[in-house]
Amino acid sequence: MLKLKINNKDVEVEEGLTVLQACEYAGVEIPKFCYHEKLSIAGNCRMCLVEIEKSPKPIASCATPAVEGMNIKTNTSFVEKARKGVMEFLLANHPLDCPVCDQGGECDLQDQSMLYGIDKSRYKENKRAVPEKNMGPLIKTIMTRCIHCTRCIRFATEVAGVPELGAIGRGEDMQITTYLEKSMQSELSANVIDLCPVGALTSKPYVFEARPWELKKTETIDVMDAVGSNIRVDTYGWEVKRVLPKINEDINGEWISDKTRYACDGLLNQRLDSPFINRKGKFTKCSWKEAFELIKSKVKSTEPDKICGISGDLVNMETLYIFKEFFNKHLNSKNLEFRNDYIYINPEKRENYLFNSSINGIEESDFIFLIGTNPKFEATILNARIRKAYLKNKTKIISLTDVGDLTYPYTKLDGKTDIIKEIINDQHSISSIIKEAKKPLIIFGQSSLSLKSSKYIFESIKTYLIKNKKISENWNSLNIISDNASTIGNLDLGFYQTIDGANQVLENLKNHKYDLVYLLGQDSLEFNKQNEFIIYQGSHGDKGAQIADLILPGAAYTEQNGYFTNLEGKLQKAYKASYPPGESKEDWLIINELTQIINEKKIFKNKEELESSMLNYLNLYKEKNFKKTNSEKINLEFFSEKILIKDKDYYYSNPIARASKTMFYCKNEKINLKSTGTEG
C-alpha cells in the first residue's frame, strides 16, 4: 500500500495505480478525454492535469504512476488554469454545432467545458475542417469534431483485434480514419461510438432520432445470442430508439456486439399486430376469441399424442414454463421440443450444457481448445474475452477446425474427428497439453454436437476430462457455447423429449405424425407442411408465420418482463421497456387465456404466481442435479468425419435481426467487401 496525500487528505492506495486512479479511488474526480480504464494509456488529451508538489509543471495524471509520499493537488488555481488552457486549445478547432450534434446532452466535451471552458474564444484564425470518413453502415463520422483522443484507435487494435483505425498526418492535419476509408470489419465496431467523448463518431441508424433526455431508459438483457449481455434500452413512446451496453464485469464488460446494438430497429418492422387465420392461402385478421375458439375445436378433435409444441430462440422462461404446464397438464401431451435440428443433448446434469468455466474464467485459463465452434459469430463478446485472455496471458489456443480470423492467433487442425479419438487415447500432443494445463478450457460449439459421432465426441471427452481431474469442484473445463438466448432456459425447464440425445419430436414431425403443431416463436424450422394444422405464436411475421394456419401475435423481448438464462447458467431478468403493438399480447398471457377458453380455468392467477412457481421448479431442478446419476457404460459409436462449422448468417440469425434494415446493410457491406476482393 502506498501512502499519498490528495488535496491535503491522507489516502492509502494499492501499488501500481496511476495518479488518476488513485484520485478516483479517493473520490476526487478528474476530467479526462483520452483515458479509459479498459484501454491502454495514451496521455495525449492533457485534460487530466494535476499539480504535484515539487514539480514545477502540471502533470498528466493518467500517465503518471502514483509514488509513495506524493502530494497531489487537484483543486488549486494552478490546476484550474492549466486545464482551462487545455480546454481552450481543444475548443479552438471544435465546431460550435452542438445544436445539430447527436452527442449533445451526453457529450464529455460539453460537460467539461461547463467547468473549464471560457465564454469567449481568443482564436481568430479559421477553424480546421476535416472531410468525413466512411466507416461502414454503423458509424457516422463528423471528423471536424474530433479531438484526437485516439480511444477509437486503441479500442480497434486492443479489444476488437482489428487494427484498421489509425491517425494519419500530423499536427493540425492529423485525421482519424480507417485504412483507405474501408468499413471496420468487426462485430464489435459500434462500441467506438460509445467510446468517442465527442460527436465525431456517432451512430448512423440513430442519426437525428432523439435527444438523450427525451428517452426512457430501461436496463435489461439482450437476447441476440446466448451470452446475455446487459443492455440499456432507450425508448421514445413505443419505439425502441437504441440499445446501449450496461456494464457487467462478469458478462459483457463494457461492450456489446453490433447485432445486439443495432438489431433493435427490427422491432419496428414486420410485426404481427393482430391474430390472423389462414383462409385458403390468405391471411385474414380475426379476433382473439375467434382464434382461441378455433384452437379449442382443434384441440378437442385431436388426440394428445398427435399434438406437439416447438419453442424458439428468443422465448423467455416464463412463457416456456407456462407453455409446458399447458401441454403437460391441460393437453396431456409431452411432445415438447426446442431444437430445430438434430443437436445432441445430454441434459442429465446441468454441467452438460453450460459454459461451466464461466466467462470470467476464460481469463484465468491457460489452454483453450475449440471444438467445432466459431466464437466470433456464435458469441461475439465471449470471443473478445478469449482475445483478452490471449493478450494478458499469451494463452495457447487450438481450434479443431480452421474458422478464419478470430482476432487472435491459434493453431488450426484439420477438423477430423479422428483427432478426438487420438486425444482420448493419449496419442495426440494435445493430450499432454490438457493434462499439464492447470485450467484448460474445452469449448464445444453447436456444430460439433450435430454430427453422427457427436455423442462419442462429447461423452468421451467428458470422461477423459473427469479421468484427468479437469472437471472438479474448483475448475470445470467442460464448456458448451449455446446458440440462442433461450437454449439454456429450455434445457433447465425440461422443454425437450429425448432418449440418448436424439430429437424424436422433430423426427416425428418430419414424418408427419402430428396433426396439430404449436410453434412458440420458432422461426428456423425446415419443414414441408402437409396436413398439419400449425399455430404460430410470435412477434414477427417471419418463416414460422409463413407456414402457419393460425397466427397469435406475441411480444418481443423488450415488451415483456421475462427471465433468460445465459450460456454460463446465470438467471437474468429482462425488463419491459415498451409494450406490444396493436392487439398483440405478452406471450405468457396468451397461453393463460387460451387455457381459460379450453379448460375454463386459468393456469396461473397472475404473473407473480407464474414467476414464483417457475423459480421453485428451477430450484428443485438444481437440487436434482446433485444426485449422482449412474454412470453406466453407454455404447459410443465412432465415425471418422470432418467437423464443418455451420455457416450461420451472423446478421440474419433471428426474426428480429432479419426484420432489421441495419442488419441488412451490415450484411451487404460484408458481401460487397468479399466480392470486390479489396480486403487484402
Binding site: 487494435t157 487494427p163 491517425a167 494519419i168 498526418g169 500530423r170 492535419d173 480507417t178 485504412y179 483507405l180
Partner: protein, 202 residues
Amino acid sequence: MSIKKISKEQPENFEFTSKNLETANKIIKKYPKGKQQSAIMALLYLVQSQNDNWIPLTAMKYVAKFLDMSYIKVYEVATFYSMYNLSPVGKHFIQICTTTPCMIRGAYKLVEACKEKISPNEKQLSKDKTCSWMEVECLGACVNAPMIQINNDYYEDLDKEKTLKIIDQILNGENPKPGSYRGRLNSEPENNRKTLMDIKNA
C-alpha cells in the same frame, strides 16, 4: 502544410529488387527478434529510393506484409513524415530550402528558376513527368545558402542563372557536379580564411 495527397494513379505491383531485398533484410537484423517493425522507416525510405522518389500504396502493403504489421500502421508512418512522398515527384526531385538564411540569400530566385524550367506550381510534375520541385524547410546547409537538393545531392551557393543551368543539365540527363558553385570546398570561407591564421590545420 496540409495532409499529403495520395496519387490516384497507382502502380499494380511493387517488389524490392534483389539488391534492396538484401539491404532490407540487413536492416531488419539490426533489431531484436519480434521487433522487426522498428525497421519501418528505413524500409519506406528504401522503397522511395527504388521507386523514383515516391511510395505507392501497393508498396505500403508490401512493406506491411514484409514486417508483419497492419496496413494502417504503415500508412500512419508514411503520412506523418514529410520526407516520404506519396505521389509521383519525378525521377529528379528538387527540394529548395526557403528557410530564413536561404531566403535572405535569395532562395526565392531559385524558386522562380524552377517555376520557369519545370512547372508553375510546386509538387507538380514537369511536362515530361521526369521532374518536380518543392519548397522545404531548412536542409542544414545554411553556410552555403541558398541551396537546392536534387535527389541525394546538395547544390550550394546558387543564384538564378546557375540554378537554370543545373536544371537544364539534369533534364538533359547529365550529372552536374554537386557542392558549392562558387568554388568553395565544403563550407570553408571564400578567398581563404580570415581568422585563426596562426593555426595550421584549423
